[in-house]
Every structure is written in structure tokens, then in C-alpha cells.
């Protein structure tokens, strides 16, 4: 008897045993089945079950397409994460149900390569089919989460009617109200909750100063603000209301608690800490990538494209890479063999890792000297470089000199300059290697001296000057390779090996980082990592570091319509709520200085940072720099997303006296919206309009369009418009009499005034701007394109809104789900077509001359290794010693779950909770077994989770996957009118690392732990202990 027979017999015997054991029902069915099987076969076998009817049929031989008349296939946008991929959505025309989501083959975030942008819709359907096996190489995908997003559309936790709270804030009781009542109450205020008078927006729109004694704070309109998430395609509309029409300075996204440390560190390395430029590897052509603080196949932006390109690069392509991370993730694959490797690192030590590589590269002179020595763009171009940097530029290093820390400028040499002293056109100064003399950086046609540290006669005195490179090299040499190794936990020989490998591919190598740097030293970790790219001069090089290909102007001043400026527009003024300006310019500073002690300020200021959502709620509730009177929270969730925030502010947030009006604009009740006074149901996913763009990694110019493929389930306004953020702000603006909305609110290219009465007035014109941008507008959408994509129901309104020559071009953009520059145009020979023109900065003057408002000390202008610290510079381990808190917590992004996707049942079905990963050696020491309940405590809180004992995690680390541990979104059922939301206990699964975040023990008032320079939230390297629960 062979094995095969054994198997059969075994199974049959087992089956019969079970049969005999009493499956009477089965027996009956078997008998019926056998009888049926003997009957003549009258019809085809029923093999397809409830599988969907195909959306179209393609003849594999001819490629002929036959659409299914009952379905439409629409190209729109996914909103499952901040990547905003182009997707194709199948809709049942009869029921309006979204059936399945896959990728848009025109879209470079979903297909590689994407289809030619002017292909017909019909041909694009054939291109993803089996015909000629086109659909294999031409496949266009959604990730697991993107494929599951349609589950949102029928969510029982969705809010479709405006809600007003009943009882105290956060009680979970709501009264449904009309749109018109909500607009009226938010505008007019009054005794809205029986708790006393609440100012409405009408009263709050005052241009009187907040505090006449501190005029720098600006007008009272700044006491109204909006927290957004990311630009999902409507941000400029919301900004139009808050900033340009209402006039407040305070509008903020989620950067401060997403990847803010990376953006700030990158901004420092790329010359601008306010605009935060950043580059990414050109994945398609790069030969060696060091991922540190980011894991390309786990998360990041654009997650799916990165992941796909890593998969392709390590198999068919030339890519080798390492992922330097405290925890292993999906970027590692045994099957990829040596092409991709995980290298464990201690949390919050990325800076030590990066500075070790820098030290080795400098000591061994493995840097790209030709790149570094070019003092200006012309010299760089002449030397065949694709970019340039300030390595040779001189910094005043004379101790005590009034200009210490500033770049030496031509005006300091007494030379005649254009414009104002120390302004943009006042040249930097370098040493001419031919003469040894100081010359403006613009004066040389070739290299300048790279390593400079000496006294030079400037004016009548000798002045110590050092080159940016020299300061950077000194910083790198502050620690030995062995010291760096001991800090980051990576052997010195591995550090050296990585440095050698990184400098062995010419410019076809890159370092990439992101949210893994969100530690108490995140700014310098990121600055140090990104500066490594400067050392090999890879910017703008094919296979090196690229900037994004950019987008077409949708919601701005476009070729056909001005969606930017308008008559009566306000220019906001004052101090941003997050104090990201120099403390030294404040009245508080002057007052304290006069009193003899200028430092510390009441709380940190962040002169080298952008506006910070991470500081918003604490600032608003502390009333510093000023109290907030009304807060809009639009599809944002700081209470869930900012480590330590809930613990710090939950009580204060419930007190309407501290923040009188909170309005959430959201289709769901999230952890922040739960504290709201009103909830305005925003439109949801496939019901929405919008124009987004790839955040990065697409070299060609790309705009993604989103349009309602199904009718909104939301209640309607009195005008019959579905309730949306846009409808709300239009109605509010009209009630308040604000400019920029209603009649005569916008202009076309000829200057004709047009109305902004409904959302489509905005989005149709945005589409037209996209369609007409560039040298040549897009083609016309055909009737067939419109019919196949189901866009037809929007055509009457499109025709009524746009000019006759415009509407088919706007429809071209909508039917393709966007506009796309031909993909190959993203490259310019061996360079990227889109280039980063400014200087990369090894020494960043903005950072190096900014002071901590807590200590009065200057920040380092060059990358450095510095341990995680609190606002006043106290190292975290000085306050929370390792003996008491032996572990470090880190946040790991999930491949599947996002911050707001816990309600997707089918995702939870695959991955229902987030057990916390810890190393087998730690687990053995602590007596923790796989699957044990464990108690995790930090100085900020305590939670109970499930242990997942692994070896793919650094010793001493507890890794928590983000996206779980919800208390809202359905995890708590709210009472809406008389209806209680369904029980959603499963949505509360797992734990949220942010519930364990810290307050800053060196600060007064309500606080969370933020990076002292970037002001970014700290979620990596939280001190912790763990034990069996």
C-alpha cells in the first residue's frame, strides 16, 4: 500500500467513524445527494457559489470587451491610509453597493508601469484582463487594507445626521439635529447646552488683539482653529474657510504626531525647517538602500508602491537593502535571501547609528568629494553633479561673537550685495583653494576648500571660521565606532560594513527614514540619517535620492480658475498656537528679560519647527500662548494618535470652560470626536470629491481625482445637498457673511466673478485646472469613457458649471481618476526630471541659531548623536532610570490595520488584535510565555495586552503594532436619540501604545513628551516595564 492509498483509507475511515458517531443529518443529506447524483444531469454544475458576476468579459483572443450592464467600474481614490492610491471600484448599479476594489491601472501608485494616460477607458479594462496575459505585468493593485475599505460604506457606526451632545462632554449621548440648526448654533452661539453662554463663530470673528499687552499673539480670530489629518484632497477648501475667510492662523495637520521628526530632520538636511523638503530613494533604480526608522513593506508613504518596488527590486531588479529597526517586519523575507536583511537596533539610537556611518565615511574619505566641494550650483553643474550642498560654506565659530553660529556672509566681508544684509541674496562665504582667501560662494567656478577651521581676518579682527563639513566631521568624531556600537547595539564591524557598502555604489544608494525616528531625540536622529545622502551626493540622481514629481494645480491658482485668492481674503497674522516661532520675539521674553531671567519660557517654543498638532490641545487647554475658544476637528484624532495626550488632557477637555466649543467633522465618532459638542457627518470614501497627489516616490507629475461613485447616505441640507465638510463651511460662511463663499467668491482666468454655492462649484473647477495645466490640456472624455465609468450622473451638473470647451476635459480627469504625466518623463537621462534646486545643508543655520526657550541654549546646527531628552534637555534616563523602567516601548506600523480602520470586519477577521512582541530571552527572564496576558506600565499609564514571544525583536524592547486599542469608532456604543449603536466589543481589541505615552516631567501644566527641537510626539523608546498580568 503506497502513501497515497494510506491517506485515502485513513481519511475515509476517519470520515466513516464520524459518520457512525451520529451525523444523522449528514446521513440524510448524503442519501439525498446520492439519489440526486443518480438522476440525469439537467443543468451545469453549480460551482460559482455567490461569487460576483464579472464586471466585464474580455475575449482572450481578440481582446474584445463586453461590459456588464449592471455594474460600473470607476477610477477613484482610496482613503485607507495617507498614501491615497488610485483605485478601481466596482459598483452594483441597482443597489449602489460597492462590490470590490482593485487598482487603477493609469495610476503610478497602483501600477508599475502605469498605462499611457490617454488610453481609452475600454482599453484600460482590457489591459488588466487575461487577454495576452496583459493583466500580469499590467496589474494594478490595492493592498489588503485598501481592498477592505469598502467595508466602511455600510458600517453601522457611521454618523449620517448632525449630532449635538446631550449631557456632559464625552458622555456618549447625542441628539440628532438638522443641518440648519447646527449651522445656526455654531455661528450664533448662545446657551447651547444649558451650561451658560457659549460664543459662536460670529462673536469670535474679531480682529481685536487677543492681548493688547502681547500684540504679537495676533487677533482674536486665532482663537478658532481646525485640526485636520492630511491633505486627502479637500484641505485647501477647509483652509479657505478657516484661514483665508475666517482669518485664523491656526490650521494644522497630523504631521507633529505622524512623522514630524523625520520631516524636520530632513528639512534641516535640505535647507528649510519650515517647508520641510524631503527626498526618497529612487526605488526603481537604486542598488543599495539603508532603511532605518522606516520599513518599506510594512507601512510608510506610499506604502503600496514602496512595497511593490522592494519586492520587484530584490527579485528581478538590482536592489539590496537593509532594514535597521528594533523589530522585524514584512520588509524582511527569508525567500529574498541576502538581498534584504533585518538589522536589529536599540530604540531611539538611530542617530548613533547614522553618526557612526558618517564617522567611518569621513575617516576613510569615502564621501563623494567632487560633490561636496562645489560651492554653488554652477560649479556643481560644471563638475557633472546633479545637485549641490553647503559643505564648503563657512560658519562663524568665534566664541562670544554676535554672529556666532551664523553663516558668514559677503556683507560681513564688506562686499557690496544685492538686497538686505543677511537676506537671501547676501552670499555665503567660502575659501578659495587657489588663494586661501575668503570669497563669496557664488564667485567660484570650481571647488572651494572643504575642510576649514582657522582664523581669518574679517573686518579688522581675526575671526574663527569653520566649514559646514568641518563642524559635521567634528560632531561625527565625538564618539568612537565602539561607543556608537555600544549605544545602538549594532556591532562596530557591521556599522563599518554598512558604511562601506553604502559608499560602494556611487550615487545609486540611499538612506531612507520616517516615523521610526519619533523619539525624544527624533530630530537629530533624522537629521543624521538624511545627511548621509549628502555625503554620497545622490540628490536628483536616477537611482539616488529623488524629490516627488509633483502634482497638477487643482485647488490653487490654476490655468482656468483661481481657487486660491479671492476678494476680501484675510492674511492671518500672529503667533501660532504651537509657538513654532522664536520665543525671543515674544512679550513674555521681553518682560522676563527685564525682570532679569529671560529663560525658561512658560512652555517650549519651537523656532525651528512647523506648526505642531502635537502641541495643540495642551496649548489650547493651558491657555498658553492663548486660550482657544472654538476647535474644529476634521477627520483627525489627536486623542488616539498622540502618545500621552489622553491621559494628560481628558479631564480638562471635558470642561467647556477651558475650551468652550468643539465641533467634530467626521463620518464616525472617534476618540477625539467623543469629546465634541457637535458632530457634523462628513462624506465618506467613495461618496466624496477631492484632489490629492502622491506624497512621494512617484517621479512623474500626478494628480488623483476622487468623485462620488455612489449616492451619499448622509442627511441632506435644506437645498438638497448631501451633508459634507464643504457644505457645512459654505453654509457657515454665508451665515457669517465671510468672503470667499457664496456669490462673487471666485474668479475664472478672465477675472469674471463666480459663485461658490455648492461643493461641485469647487471640485469641477479644480478638475478643469488639472485638465488644462501644462503645455497641452488633456483630451476629451468620450461618451464611452463616461458610460463605462458611471460618471454620467455628474455630467449635467458638470456641463452647467463649466464652459462648453471645458467639461469633457474635466470629465477626462474624473474618468481616469486623475491626470498623469507620462511615467517615463519622470526621468531625464541619468537624472530625475524633477530636481531639488536649493543647497543641501550639512550645517543648518536656522537650527544652529535657534535657542531652546527652556534653557536659552543654542541647538546644534549639525547632525549629532544625542540621547532622548525632555524639553529642558534632561535626558529621559535621568528621570526614568533603567533600573526602574528596564524596557523600551516602540510603535510598529501595521501592514493591515490603520489608525481609523478598526471597524473593517474583514481586516479584523485576518488580524483581530495586536499582541505585543518581546524577545524570547526577555520573556524567559520574566517568566512570560507566548499568549500570556501581560501588564505593561510606563510613567504615563498601564495596559494589559497579550504577549507574542519572538526573536525578531531587539532585546529590551516591547513592540506594539499601531491601530488597535480603540475606545471609540464603535468600541463604545453611543446613544443617538433613542437608538443605541450596536455593540462593538470586537473593535476594542488589543492595546494602543499611545495610552502609555508620557507627560514631560520637566514642564508645567498639561504636557506630552515632545522632541525638544522638532516638537514631534514621542512614541519610540518609552520607558516601560512588563510582567505577567
Amino acid at each position: 500500500m503506497d502513501r497515497r492509498t494510506l491517506l485515502k483509507t485513513g481519511v475515509a475511515a476517519g470520515g466513516l467513524g464520524a459518520f457512525a458517531a451520529g451525523y444523522a443529518d449528514t446521513a440524510r443529506k448524503v442519501v439525498e445527494g446520492v439519489a440526486d447524483s443518480l438522476a440525469p444531469k439537467a443543468k451545469a454544475a453549480n460551482i460559482h457559489g455567490a461569487s460576483l458576476k464579472p464586471e466585464f468579459t474580455v475575449d482572450p483572443a481578440t481582446g474584445g470587451l463586453t461590459p456588464d450592464p449592471d455594474q460600473q467600474v470607476s477610477y477613484v481614490m482610496c482613503m485607507g491610509c495617507t498614501t491615497y492610491c488610485g483605485v478601481r471600484v466596482r459598483v452594483d448599479k441597482t443597489s449602489g453597493a460597492v462590490l470590490r476594489v482593485a487598482g487603477n491601472p493609469f495610476h503610478p501608485l497602483s501600477a508599475d508601469p502605469p498605462l499611457p494616460p490617454d488610453m481609452s477607458i475600454k482599453d484600460s479594462f482590457v489591459a488588466v484582463s487575461r487577454a495576452g496575459e496583459k493583466g500580469l505585468d499590467g496589474r494594478s493593485t490595492t493592498c489588503g487594507r485598501g481592498s477592505a475599505m469598502l467595508g466602511w460604506m455600510a458600517s453601522p457606526y457611521r454618523v449620517t445626521q448632525p449630532l449635538k451632545r446631550v449631557g456632559p462632554r464625552g458622555a456618549g449621548r447625542w441628539q440628532p439635529i438638522s443641518f440648519e440648526q447646527m449651522v445656526r448654533e455654531v455661528a450664533e452661539g448662545g446657551d447651547l447646552f444649558g451650561e451658560g453662554h457659549v460664543d459662536g463663530l460670529k462673536a469670535l470673528r474679531s480682529f481685536d488683539p487677543i492681548d493688547p499687552k502681547a500684540p504679537e499673539l495676533g487677533p482674536k480670530v486665532n482663537q478658532v482653529g481646525l485640526m485636520s489629518s492630511t491633505n486627502e484632497g479637500r484641505e485647501n477648501f477647509a483652509r479657505r474657510f478657516v484661514q483665508k475667510a475666517f482669518g485664523s492662523l491656526n490650521f494644522i495637520g497630523h504631521g507633529g504626531y505622524c512623522g514630524g521628526s523625520y520631516r524636520s530632520g530632513s528639512g534641516a538636511a535640505m535647507g528649510n525647517v519650515k517647508r520641510l523638503p524631503h527626498a526618497k530613494p529612487d526605488f526603481a533604480n537604486c542598488e543599495f538602500i539603508i532603511f532605518c526608522g522606516t520599513a518599506p513593506a510594512n507601512a510608510g508613504n506610499p506604502f503600496k508602491r514602496q512595497a511593490a518596488m522592494v519586492a520587484k527590486g530584490r527579485t528581478d531588479g538590482k536592489l539590496n537593502y537593509v532594514v535597521v529597526d528594533p523589530v522585524i517586519g514584512h520588509s524582511d523575507s527569508l525567500a529574498a535571501k541576502h538581498r534584504g536583511r533585518w538589522i536589529p537596533i536599540r530604540p531611539a539610537t538611530d542617530g548613533a547609528f547614522a553618526m557612526a556611518l558618517a564617522r567611518w565615511i569621513i575617516d576613510n574619505e569615502r564621501y563623494d568629494r567632487t560633490f561636496l566641494v562645489q560651492p554653488n550650483p554652477k560649479a556643481a553643474a560644471a563638475a557633472g553633479e546633479a545637485g549641490w550642498c553647503n559643505a564648503t560654506h563657512l560658519v562663524v565659530a568665534e566664541p562670544g561673537h554676535p554672529r556666532e553660529g551664523f553663516m558668514l556672509r559677503a556683507s560681513d566681508l564688506g562686499l557690496t550685495i544685492e538686497g538686505e544684509t543677511y537676506a537671501e541674496k547676501d552670499p555665503f562665504v567660502v575659501v578659495d583653494p587657489a588663494t586661501g582667501q575668503l570669497v563669496p560662494h557664488t564667485a567660484l567656478a570650481g571647488p572651494a576648500e572643504l575642510i576649514v577651521d582657522g582664523a581669518f581676518a574679517v573686518g579688522d579682527k581675526p575671526l574663527r571660521l569653520r566649514s559646514s563639513f568641518d563642524l559635521y566631521a567634528e560632531s561625527a568624531r565625538r564618539f568612537t565606532m565602539e561607543e556608537y556600537a555600544a549605544t545602538c547595539g549594532i556591532p562596530a564591524e557591521t556599522l563599518a560594513g554598512l558604511a562601506r557598502e553604502f559608499t560602494s555604489h556611487g550615487k545609486k544608494a540611499a538612506v531612507n527614514t520616517h516615523g521610526g525616528t519619533m523619539a525624544g531625540n527624533g530630530f537629530y536622529n533624522a537629521f543624521a540619517l538624511i545627511a548621509l545622502n549628502t555625503l554620497i551626493g545622490n540628490i536628483n540622481v536616477k537611482g539616488g535620492a529623488m524629490v516627488s514629481g509633483g502634482a497638477f494645480p487643482a485647488e490653487g491658482k490654476g490655468p482656468r480658475y483661481d481657487l486660491d485668492g479671492f476678494p476680501g481674503q484675510v492674511t492671518p497674522k500672529g503667533t501660532p498656537l504651537s509657538r513654532n516661532v522664536p520665543y525671543e520675539k515674544s512679550s513674555e521674553f521681553k518682560r522676563k528679560k527685564e525682570a532679569g531671567k529671560a529663560y525658561p519660557s512658560e512652555a517650549p517654543w519651537y523656532p525651528a519647527a512647523p506648526q505642531l498638532g502635537s502641541e495643540w490641545l495642551t496649548s489650547a487647554l493651558n491657555g498658553y500662548p492663548y486660550p482657544m475658544k472654538a476647535l474644529f476637528v476634521w477627520n483627525a484624532n489627536p486623542i488616539y494618535g498622540i502618545p500621552g495626550l489622553k491621559g494628560a488632557v481628558a479631564t480638562a477637555l471635558k470642561d467647556p470652560k477651558r475650551l468652550p466649543l468643539i465641533v467634530a467633522i467626521d463620518p464616525f465618532i472617534n476618540e477625539t470626536g467623543a469629546f465634541a459638542d457637535y458632530i457634523l457627518p462628513d462624506s465618506l470614501l467613495f461618496e466624496t470629491w477631492g484632489f490629492a497627489a502622491p506624497w512621494h516616490t512617484v517621479p512623474s507629475r500626478t494628480s488623483t481625482a476622487r468623485w462620488p461613485v455612489v449616492e451619499s447616505k448622509n442627511a441632506k441640507t435644506a437645498d438638497g445637498e448631501p451633508i459634507t465638510m464643504e457644505a457645512f463651511f459654505i453654509a457657515l460662511a454665508k451665515t457669517l457673511g465671510l468672503p470667499g463663499f457664496g456669490p462673487n467668491a471666485m474668479r475664472d482666468a478672465a477675472g469674471t466673478l463666480l459663485a461658490l454655492d455648492r461643493p461641485t462649484d469647487w471640485f469641477f473647477r479644480a478638475a478643469t485646472n488639472v485638465a488644462f495645466a501644462g503645455q497641452k490640456p488633456v483630451g476629451d472624455a468620450t461618451d464611452e469613457d463616461i458610460a463605462l465609468t458611471g460618471f454620467g450622473r455628474h455630467v449635467p451638473a458638470l456641463q452647467a458649471t463649466l464652459k462648453p470647451e471645458e467639461w469633457r476635459k474635466a470629465a477626462h480627469v474624473f474618468t481616469r481618476g486623475g491626470r498623469y504625466q507620462p511615467y517615463a518623463q519622470g526621468y531625464d537621462g541619468e537624472r530625475m526630471a524633477q530636481k531639488f534646486a536649493p543647497a543641501l545643508t550639512l550645517y543648518n543655520e536656522q537650527v544652529g541659531t535657534a535657542r531652546s526657550s527652556m534653557t536659552g541654549r543654542r541647538h546644534s546646527g549639525v547632525p549629532q548623536w544625542t540621547p532622548p531628552a525632555f524639553a529642558d534637555g534632561t535626558p529621559m534616563r535621568k528621570v526614568y532610570a533603567e533600573a526602574d523602567w528596564p524596557m523600551l516601548l516602540i510603535s510598529q506600523k501595521s501592514v493591515l490595520m490603520g489608525a481609523y480602520t478598526i471597524g473593517l470586519d474583514r481586516l479584523r477577521g485576518i488580524h483581530p488584535e495586536n499582541p505585543v512582541a518581546l524577545h524570547a530571552d526577555d520573556a524567559a527572564r520574566l517568566g512570560i510565555a507566548n499568549g500570556d496576558k501581560v501588564r505593561i506600565a510606563t510613567p504615563g499609564g498601564e495596559v494589559v495586552g497579550t504577549a507574542l514571544v519572538r526573536k525578531g525583536v531587539m532585546r529590551g524592547v516591547i513592540a506594539v503594532e499601531h491601530g488597535f486599542g480603540h475606545t471609540e469608532f464603535g468600541a463604545r456604543s453611543h446613544l443617538i436619540g433613542d437608538t443605541r449603536q450596536p455593540d462593538g466589543a470586537a473593535l476594542a481589541a488589543g492595546i494602543n501604545l499611545n495610552d502609555l505615552g508620557l507627560s514631560d516631567p520637566t514642564r508645567k501644566g498639561l504636557s506630552v513628551w515632545l522632541d525638544p527641537v522638532a516638537g514631534s510626539a514621542v512614541r519610540q523608546g518609552l520607558p516601560a516595564r512588563i510582567s505577567r498580568a
Binding site: 446520492v34 443543468k43 470590490r100 500580469l136 489588503g144 522585524i328 514584512h330 474583514r906
Partner: protein
């Protein structure tokens, strides 16, 4: 990368993957020389494991395409952390019905509901199936389940309804890494034929002689059977195939 460049990995244990290479039992049938246009195809899938990033797009796409009930999967990517000396590594292993040429699920069906079509796809005729689950037990790959909604045996059909419409299976269409490749193994010009013809394709549990028609490229021999590793998805609701 060349060995000379691998020294950056010093400090880590050397890696020897797939040292114990064995010729895949039940390896691919040799593609025939030519195919006439009206010849019945033999559908097969190749999974290039190094291209899988474990995003579960296949899993979710299949769920929606095929109305897979909440506690079941027709396909899933088993995700493990494995040990290789001192090195931890991730294994992402997409699993589905293997559409075996000698499928153990077929002979055990008491009512003849499970059968193999001429194109190689193993299917269940729901009108005949009585939900006895013998086939579920017989499948060595855990690829079948009884659908609690229909009370019928349920499994991957290679999306036969799509394939017949000239389309690709849902999991293939939306595979982010391009790991899943589908086509006619009897057509020597098809991508799957060419990949299988290279000779290093493997199948799961080759020792059972089931002659699967899902082939894996780059699969460590130690992963063709039960995987010694820590599943990282953590208790998916219902059944995940860890066969």
C-alpha cells in the same frame, strides 16, 4: 551582491538558505510543444515567494470576490517568523487550493460533488454537495471549509467565473508584489509554463504525490510542510491554514 560586499553582515550569523535542496517531487509536467487555440488549458498558479510582502490583498480581494464567509478563507498568506541560526526571518507563504492533479478531496466525496474540470480546476457542485466535510478532512492543505452560510463545501476555484470571462483570479489581479502568476501550463508560451520549466519550482507536501498545480518559486524546502515558526497574524478568526 558579490560575497566581497557582504561583510557588512559580519556580526550576524551566516545564512544558508535552502541548503538541503531536493528535487521537487511531483514537479511540473513538461509543457507540451504546441497548443492549438481551442485546446483546453490546464490552469496553474506560480507563487514567487520572494515577491510576496504579506499584505493580504489576495485574501481580502478573494473574500469580496467570492463572498467568503466571515470565519473562513479560500486563500490567505500565512505569515511566520522563523529562525535561521541566530537570525530571525519572515516567511510569507500564500496558500490556496492546489488544484492537484491527483486531488485527495475528490475520491472521498460520497455524492460526486467534487470533481476536476478538464482545465484542471477542482470544483464543488453546490447542488450536489451535502456538506459532509469529508473533503475538508481529506485535503492535506487545509484548503477547504464548509461554508456556514450555505452548508456546502467551499474552496478556491481559481476564480473560474473570472477566468471564463477572460479575466484573472481576484488574488492575482491585486497582488501588490506581483507574486501570484496565473496561466495555462499547457501553453509553453505562458508565463507560468516558462517559470515552471526553469525547474526550481516547488510544491507543498510533495511527498504526498498529490501533484499540486500551485507552484512556489524560492520556497525553502523546510517550508513545504508544516512550518516551524511563530505565526504573526495571531489567531485569525476561524481557520487559518497552517498545514
Amino acid at each position: 551582491m558579490p560575497d566581497s560586499r557582504r561583510d557588512f553582515l559580519r556580526g550576524f550569523a551566516a545564512v544558508t538558505v535552502g541548503a538541503a535542496a531536493v528535487a521537487p517531487a511531483g514537479a511540473a509536467p513538461t509543457p507540451q510543444a504546441a497548443v492549438s487555440p481551442d485546446k483546453t488549458p490546464r490552469w496553474a498558479m506560480v507563487v514567487d515567494v520572494a515577491k510576496c510582502i504579506g499584505c493580504q490583498s489576495c485574501t481580502v480581494s478573494c473574500i469580496y470576490e467570492n463572498a467568503v464567509p466571515e470565519d473562513s478563507f479560500r486563500t490567505i498568506v500565512s505569515t511566520y517568523e522563523v529562525q535561521e541560526g541566530d537570525r530571525a526571518a519572515m516567511v510569507m507563504l500564500p496558500r490556496l487550493c492546489n488544484h492537484c492533479a491527483d486531488a485527495p478531496c475528490i475520491p472521498v466525496c460520497p455524492v460526486g460533488a467534487t470533481f476536476q474540470r478538464a482545465d484542471g480546476i477542482v470544483v464543488v457542485d453546490a447542488d450536489r454537495c451535502v456538506g459532509c466535510a469529508y473533503c475538508v478532512q481529506a485535503c492535506p492543505y487545509d484548503a477547504r471549509f464548509v461554508n456556514h452560510g450555505t452548508q456546502k463545501a467551499d474552496k478556491c476555484t481559481f476564480c473560474a467565473h473570472r477566468v471564463e470571462a477572460g479575466l484573472l483570479p481576484a488574488c492575482v489581479e491585486s497582488c501588490v508584489g506581483g507574486a501570484r502568476i496565473f496561466g495555462d501550463l499547457d501553453d509553453p508560451k505562458s508565463t507560468v509554463s516558462k517559470l515552471v520549466a526553469k525547474g526550481d519550482a516547488k510544491v507543498l507536501k510533495p511527498e504526498l504525490g498529490t501533484r499540486p498545480h500551485v507552484f512556489y518559486l524560492g520556497l525553502d524546502d523546510r517550508l513545504t510542510g508544516k512550518v516551524e515558526g511563530e505565526p504573526t497574524l495571531w489567531h485569525p478568526t476561524g481557520r487559518e491554514t497552517h498545514a
